[in-house]
Amino acid sequence: MTRRIEQVVVVGADAPAWMAAAAIQNSVSAAGIRVRVIELPTQLQPADAYSALPELAGFHHRIGLPEDLLFTLCKAVPIAGRRFSNWSGAALPFIHGFDRSPPPAAGLGFTQLWIKGRQKGLRTEFENFSLASVAAKAGRVPVAAGGAALHAAFGYNLDAGAYSALLRHFTMRGGVESKAATIADVETEGDRIIAVILNDGERVEADLFVDASGPRAALIGRMRGADVESWREWLPCDRMLVASARGLRPLPAFSQISAFRHGWIGLSPLQDRTAVVAVYDSRETSDQAVLEDLPALANMPIGGDAIVSGLSQGIRRRAWVGNCVAIGESAFSLEPLDGTQLHIVHYCISQLMTLFPVEAGAFPEAELYDRIVHRLAVNLRDFQLAHYKLNRRFDMPFWDACRDAAVPETLQRKLDVFTARGRVPLNDDETFQEQDWDSLFIGHGLMPQSYDPRVDAIPEQEHIAQVQARLNDIVGLVEAMPPVDDFLAGVNSRQAAEAEAVG
């Protein structure tokens, strides 16, 4: 065996850098591998928030971060889904809930029953059969909710600065060294980074460099073959505004995403405020115009902390070159439309751990990592793009163009098979499962033309009974869930009791 990896350097800032460092430290420090963080200046604004899918809890569990700290230190609010409104002129808003039910036996899911029911005159909207969506509407938190067939989980809205600080503290306490710096130069030899030269002249060598610097791509951006393939032809928005508004009382259990004439705005409840984000196309409107319209669009006063930045969506052709691995937004970036920013970070990290290089001299793992990250990115891009493609805001040039534009073949196949039969062909490395795509497609008004013929084998009375039973089960389960404020009070009293016990 040739020489093992001994030193890993993570270059980046904010949550992604500390997530990477914590995970690597946790997995391989006992194997004698040292982790050091070169902490670049933050890219966060005070108004920034992260939205996270329920799977983040699994990541916290693996690195040993107690979940309660998110609620006591990061102003976190648990959410059961994301509510989409104004994406269609006439249709009602819908909630993409965080349902996590196990896949149905033999692939015959409830969606198929619903499609037939709909054709026979069932009036109940699809989202009422989603445990998470009903919980979200009722302001309840799906705490370990559900039985064998129905299961839902909660994600989080987090104060981005506080969450990054918590991770930083937690990671440093775990023995990771760090140094705040900027990169003056990168010394390479062929495809390898030999050293990173910092602004104070220090030369930092390592066997493996992890680029967690976000879209600025401090390392991977300099590597050969890692140029960016833009997705603008499909995803036209190129500006993002973040700001704060007052907190909501009582706290809702969802984030709100509303389309407007030139893009969309998102409202994410936090304990002390509401994080506001607007994403739009600079060819359609100006930053100033959006800022002026924002209070009306958000239906609340907006604080004075608004900051606008450019947004470029696309993917690097290679996410791992030589000994440099890009994670999260260093590898590809999307809008925060579906709350996946942190998800892509921890998914990339977990792939890096599975593919952790076995030696410091050659990295055949890179090719597989590239393919996995590419599939992850394409699947998420398609999910996001479907919101635009399926919009029904007619007679608005921006939205008409989005609806009329051709979409990539990967998304077209999903749209086609769903339209024809209500099934979603999933690829490898899908973040969202069939129940998520069903919710997205049906929510935006895409109605399947036919259903799985096995549904006709269920007698009509039994079909009706099954549909009714699901509604009843959901109502019962949701009633047992705590409202958001009770959930947070519960965390606080638990923490207070622990503090007392320690004190």
Partner: protein, 510 residues
């Protein structure tokens, strides 16, 4: 309510009766009427006496009682496949139906094993597979499904008489409403404009019309290949075997695994059933003559032959598409991969189970057709790569076929997998496809590819603890296996067949 659609299945072998039974069991007669046309004059190939665990999902879905089916087909249990002399002379490994190491640890277990080996751990990776150990010791019991302990670390399949399985299914299918027509097809009538198949004209003069035709006519591919002219994709440059010669022999030890022994020009199977042992030699005529191969098979029998050996011709590959116009091919009419990993019945099953949810209405929806074809292609290609691996990964110098296979170019997707495993012990997983990483692991290691390194994630435990851990786990398996019933005993208690005379000798079985 609209008129039900007519589905016509051509061919009554394993594929035809599996399709007929599934359709009539899963879909009500108000939606589809199912007819099956077959001729008793045409022999069936009767693919796959050995199956893969997925067959149980199929049987469950269509409502088959396991013990009853096993009694009716002289079935025995199967915990994996033993490969003898593959990779190198003297090798012997089991591809088990279950993980190596503890449940839920398969991402890291083999890395730990590789490290422990360097630290002096003796023994084989199979020692850490519950299924392999139970198989080796000829034990069987039904797995525990609701726990994460050893008893849930495996699954199982069957060895059965595929001809009897088809007969058993026919009984079910006819009882459930499938109409069977005896007859030979004289002509196929197509729509002059669309080219869709409209009806089958039988030699008796009867016309069988339909909306959807399922071609289960075997290698002849009468509808998809011959009538619709769908082309064939030839894979024989990677899988050179083109013949099988098969012969049943008297029953001997009822080992709960299929045995595949590499030979001078291919490989030989041994499949123990309750009433006899199935044997066959899959070979390439580029490397051996038919007579010589048959003689070689007869010499190798461990028990007395019960019939004359029968010869079967084939080529590895598949139709360019398996669904064209209003015709779907299932089984050999759509493609063929040699039974090295017992995948023939699986390929039938997966085609049926993908077709059912995508069944067309009065006219074929190209979106559903394309999706079916995409899924079937993935299945074929992933199995193909896994089969090629067995041939490619060898260091045998003693026979021409092995030298050819070691040197041949293989699909790039496979080269990548082999090289990544060789360097880093990493195995890629996929969503749609039969073989999980543990299957790949067993073949890689079993055929002598020991990775050059292992993941640093396996370096976190002190070495002596690791070796002690591995030893303790191995002993746990041995202890638990010893408590299990003998396979023969379990069959006697659970599903012993009536000592009836089984039909035999008219079929070649794969």
């Amino acid at each position: 309510m609209s008129e039900p659609l007519d589905i016509v299945i051509l061919g009554g072998g394993t594929a035809g009766w599996m399709a007929a039974t599934a359709l009539v069991s899963l879909i009500p007669p108000t939606s589809y009427r199912v007819r099956l046309v077959e001729s008793e004059e045409i022999g069936i190939v009767g693919v796959g006496e050995a199956t893969f665990p997925e067959i149980r999902n199929f049987n469950d879905a269509i409502g088959i009682d396991e013990a009853e089916m096993m009694r009716a087909t002289n079935a025995a249990f199967k915990l994996g496949i033993q490969f003898v002399d593959w990779g190198f002379k003297g090798s012997c490994y089991i591809h088990p139906f279950g993980v190596h190491g503890p449940v839920g640890m398969d991402y890291i277990f083999h890395h730990r094993w590789l490290r422990a080996r360097r630290l002096g751990l003796k023994g084989d990776i199979q020692d850490y597979s519950f299924a392999a150990q139970a198989a080796r010791d000829c034990r069987f019991e039904l797995p525990e499904t609701r726990s994460t302990n050893l008893d849930s670390a495996y699954t199982y399949a069957y060895h059965f008489d595929a001809g009897l399985y088809a007969v058993y299914l026919r009984g079910l299918a006819e009882k459930r409403g499938v109409i069977r027509t005896e007859g030979k097809v004289k002509d196929v009538v197509q729509d002059p404009e669309t080219g869709d198949i409209r009806s089958l004209l039988l030699e008796s003069g009867e016309t069988i019309s339909g909306d959807l035709f399922i071609d289960c006519s075997g290698f002849r591919s009468l509808l998809l290949g011959k009538t619709l002219g769908v082309g064939w994709e030839d894979w024989s440059k990677w899988l050179p075997c083109d013949r099988a010669v098969a012969v049943p022999s008297e029953r001997d030890e009822l080992s709960p695994y299929t045995r595949s022994t590499a030979m001078e020009a291919g490989w030989r199977w041994r499949i123990p059933l309750q009433h006899r042992t199935g044997n066959g030699y899959v070979f390439s005529t580029s490397f051996i003559g038919e007579d010589e191969a048959a003689a070689s098979l007869m010499r190798s029998l461990e028990t007395k032959a019960l019939a004359e050996p029968r010869m079967l011709k084939f080529q590895a590959g598949r139709r360019v598409v398996n669904w064209a116009k209003n015709c779907v091919a299932i089984g050999l009419a759509g493609g063929f991969l040699e039974p090295l990993e017992s995948t023939s019945i699986y390929l039938i099953q997966v085609a049926i189970m993908q077709l059912v949810p995508l069944l067309p209405g009065k006219s074929v929806d190209p979106r559903l057709r394309d999706e079916f074809n995409r899924l079937i292609d993935l299945q074929y290609e992933r199995i193909r790569d896994f089969l090629i691996l067995h041939y490619k990964l060898n260091t045998r110098e003693d026979a021409e076929i092995w030298r050819y296979c070691a040197a041949m170019d293989v699909p790039e997707s496979l080269t990548r997998k082999i090289e990544l495993f060789r360097h880093s012990a990493i195995i890629e997983r996929y969503r749609d496809g039969l073989f999980p990483p543990t299957s790949w692991l067993s073949v890689f290691i079993g055929q002598g590819l020991i990775p050059e390194a292992y993941s640093p994630l396996a370096d976190t435990m002190p070495g002596e603890n690791l070796v002690a851990h591995m030893d303790a786990f191995r002993v746990d398996i041995l202890d638990r296996v010893e408590e299990m019933r003998r396979h023969e005993r379990f069959i006697d208690l659970y599903c012993a067949a009536e000592p009836a005379v089984a039909p035999m000798g008219t079929e070649v079985r794969l």
